[in-house]
Subunit: 197 residues, 2 copies
DNA sequence: ATAAATGTACTAACCGGTCGGTTTATACTT
DNA sequence: AAGTATAAACCGACCGGTTAGTACATTTAT
């Protein structure tokens, strides 16, 4: 039972920072914001994280691991097209519930910090690579099982699907209207159905 | 010849701010950054712009007008698919030249400030609406002239194309690799060619 | 002369981060 | 079990520097 209390504090800091980074952005969130909102004192925060960037890095790790464990879980045996569309539907639901505020944690951070902090950029790149790999695997599996035509190019299609996903969220966030994301969902469905064997 | 000198100063401020906002982000660019880089003094800057948000608003207007006058100009008579792909090729060239730094001015700002400053958000929404309208018109015209099948849905397809465009830039920016944007370009071509009559 | 344009010095609040010190929990000794 | 050593966890005042924005004098053009 070593460090049980400390682990709780650490989590509290990370989750508070995650929410603020997501909703207000990285640059627009100060360490004092995180201190006030979390109730953890500043000295304590810096006991766990050596800098804002270090905290940012831990937050990205946390969101990735949350996402891998509880979030998008593709089953290679299922219908790949249905599963990809389910990913879009989940996002559309979240977007609607949040009234198009916040958007995608990874997408937001990617555009904000990619040119500013290379360490964070690499973490985010890794997160996108994981997602792309999962979508690619899904398409490859579908092709091997004969569910999808052999003309589908898994790697390229996976990039394309995720780009459309992120771009759709971007448009919906700036317009405060899910319609654009829905259009992306519709077009991706049409696109993918064209590959069904 | 009223305000000739002043107009030059105003332009200098706007263009400096535009470059800094684009490359470093809105929040990460201070008024002092703009003052130092432009050579204009602070009092003079605030003579032309009442606040940072006011300046941001003027910068967005400036980039939109630049873009409308010299940038993407679609001709309704030409091949719609070729013209859309040309837009992607221009962006790919820019992305390559900039080594995937910066990305899309509008996309960056959209994600950064949409939930923070509603005035700016509306300006950015307007910019995207203009672009969507142009792409939609292009597709409509192609359909009416019989170049595109009647199954194409101009409004939905336009949203989709721009979302993929923005998402592709996002992925390339975070990965520092144009490959993802190229994949989007390839897939959009494949998608659009499917609509050729 | 007079109004537009520019320069300089300043503010109060906030920024990321540090500091010396206190409290609390565990480990070891007797 | 009681006392003690040690380290993990926590506190909040404080630091130099930066933030957006202001006050007001001065210069320049008409």
């Amino acid at each position: 039972m070593i460090g049980l209390k400390g682990e709780k504090t650490r989590r509290r800091i990370i989750e508070t920072a995650r929410d603020l980074f997501h909703l207000k952005g990285y640059m627009n969130t100060s360490m004092d914001n995180i201190v006030r909102r979390s109730g953890v004192t500043k000295g304590n925060l810096y006991y766990y994280f050596s800098s804002k960037e270090d905290l940012g890095s831990a937050v990205v790790d946390h969101v990735v691991s949350d996402w891998l464990s509880a979030g998008i879980r593709f089953r290679e045996k299922g219908d790949p097209i249905r599963q990809i569309l389910a990913m879009f539907q989940r996002a559309e639901k979240g977007l609607t519930e949040m009234e198009c505020k916040g958007g995608c944690f990874f997408g937001n951070l990617a555009l904000e910090v990619s040119d500013l902090h290379d360490g964070l950029r690499r973490k985010l790149e890794d997160a996108f690579l994981r997602l792309e790999f999962q979508v690619k695997s899904l398409l490859e599996s579908g092709r091997q099982r004969g569910v999808l035509k052999s003309t589908v190019h898994p790697r390229i299609a996976a990039s394309f699907i995720i780009a459309t996903f992120e771009g759709g969220i971007l448009l919906s966030k700036v317009k405060k209207d899910v319609q654009d994301f829905r259009s992306c969902s519709t077009m991706i469905r049409e696109f993918l159905e064209g590959f069904r064997a």
